[in-house]
Symmetry: C2
Subunit: 252 residues, 2 copies
């Protein structure tokens, strides 16, 4: 195995990232985590720009995130990222997000497949591409994304997929699903609790014009499960969160 | 009048800015324009962080934007910004967005008020604050934002204001209103047309839990008007767009 360096990328929390509490939204932090994945893949020669020439593209299959705190407007953040697993079905890419003082903001583990942009089917990674050179022999910082079971939702919101939801892969962007889940939560989560762990499974693609229903159920003890599905119940995306009591902004 | 320099700020188009055509969404470009306003105000000592200590904050009242082209993923952009007008009711701040080759991507003129965060009323700028030192004697690059008349909408979409829509001012963020307007357009606008001019008036504040209805009417000739309103028809926001036939990406 070649000795490969972790990728290190710097971003600045902008005012559009900030929620009513003055801290960056979890989805904004995940957007920077996914941006670092894209930046690192591009820098190493297998970004979406490289893959699109072969009419294939990266799609996110699962993500797990653990948050220590949410930074404030104008804070500089650093994301270190490394790939530590490749199979025929996909890659495992890890991230740690640090603040200007080197303290941890969040960790993430992501699992990616490559799809053919015409057939929308996953391709066999080990046949078509060689990512072995990019592997770094360092374990994931948190447990890999868990399989989220089907949800029996109590609250539901439906929406029709519109222009702004659709990304460069011509399907609903991951951030949209995440946003719809966070929008099901009580506001008290954001002002008095900390999101300890968040697992998301992307099951199938929602496309322009589809109608999707976001459902949420909670266990009364900080555990929330989510389903984003078609009218017939077949899932686009599932998520699970664990929240704890207590303010999260001790670190700054 | 003090000789003041225009503020110059640099950003990079990220993958979350990109739509299905591979170009940055108009709303993402406007987000960078508004970020530059915030960055410049902060650098000169009257940003939201400075004002919030007095329990007052900037709110956007009107914006006009003219677009030349929409940049691609990874492009570096520069926003130059300057304030050229202050009255008791607000300030006029201008922006020009340039690409790495110094070519114009977009121009904007914005009008801002300062509100008391308790009463939500506009304060008299000339009584409470002194922005005279920040004025730059250079005209706006495009006509100032126009008053948008009431709309008789043909298509309507309603939604309930959720967590993600609410910003640091504890009301619906400007970008949300803009996103809802763009999501009313036919997809052909984004693949085969250019947005020549976009005027938006922010009339009143939508808050968490409000139900808002976005309406759209078109003149069949590239002109679209929008209303975002309460159930009783009283407006939160109005917008008008002029679109022209033709691809927009000639410059790169």
């Amino acid at each position: 195995m070649t000795i490969m360096e972790k990728g290190t990328y710097h971003y600045t929390i902008g005012q559009s990232d900030i929620d009513f509490t003055g801290h960056a939204k979890h989805v904004s932090l995940i957007d920077y985590i996914l941006q670092a994945a894209g930046d690192d893949a591009s820098q190493k020669g297998f970004g979406i720009g490289d893959l699109n020439t072969g009419n294939i593209s990266w799609v996110l299959m699962r993500i797990a995130t653990e948050f220590v705190r949410r930074p404030s407007n104008g804070e500089r953040i650093t994301v270190n990222t490394w790939v530590n697993g490749v199979t025929r079905f996909g890659t495992t890419r890890n991230m740690e997000m640090l603040d200007a003082g080197g303290r941890v903001i969040a960790y993430a583990v992501t699992q990616w497949a490559v799809i053919d942009l015409e057939t929308r089917e996953a391709i066999n990674l080990t046949e078509r591409l060689d990512f072995g050179f990019a592997l770094i022999d360092e374990p994931s910082p948190i447990p890999i994304p868990r399989k989220v079971a089907a949800v029996a939702p109590r609250d539901e919101v439906s929406r029709r997929i519109a222009y702004s939801d659709i990304d460069f892969n011509n399907h609903v962007n991951a951030s949209c699903y995440l946003t719809w889940m966070f929008d099901m939560l009580p506001m008290e989560c954001f002002s008095g609790m900390r999101l300890v762990r968040y697992d998301v499974n992307f099951v199938s693609e929602a496309r322009y014009g589809d109608t999707v229903t976001t459902g949420c159920a909670d266990d009364g003890n900080g555990g929330y499960t989510f389903s984003i599905a078609r009218a017939d119940g077949s899932p686009f995306c599932r998520g699970a969160m664990v929240w704890e009591q207590g303010a999260e902004d001790a670190a700054k």
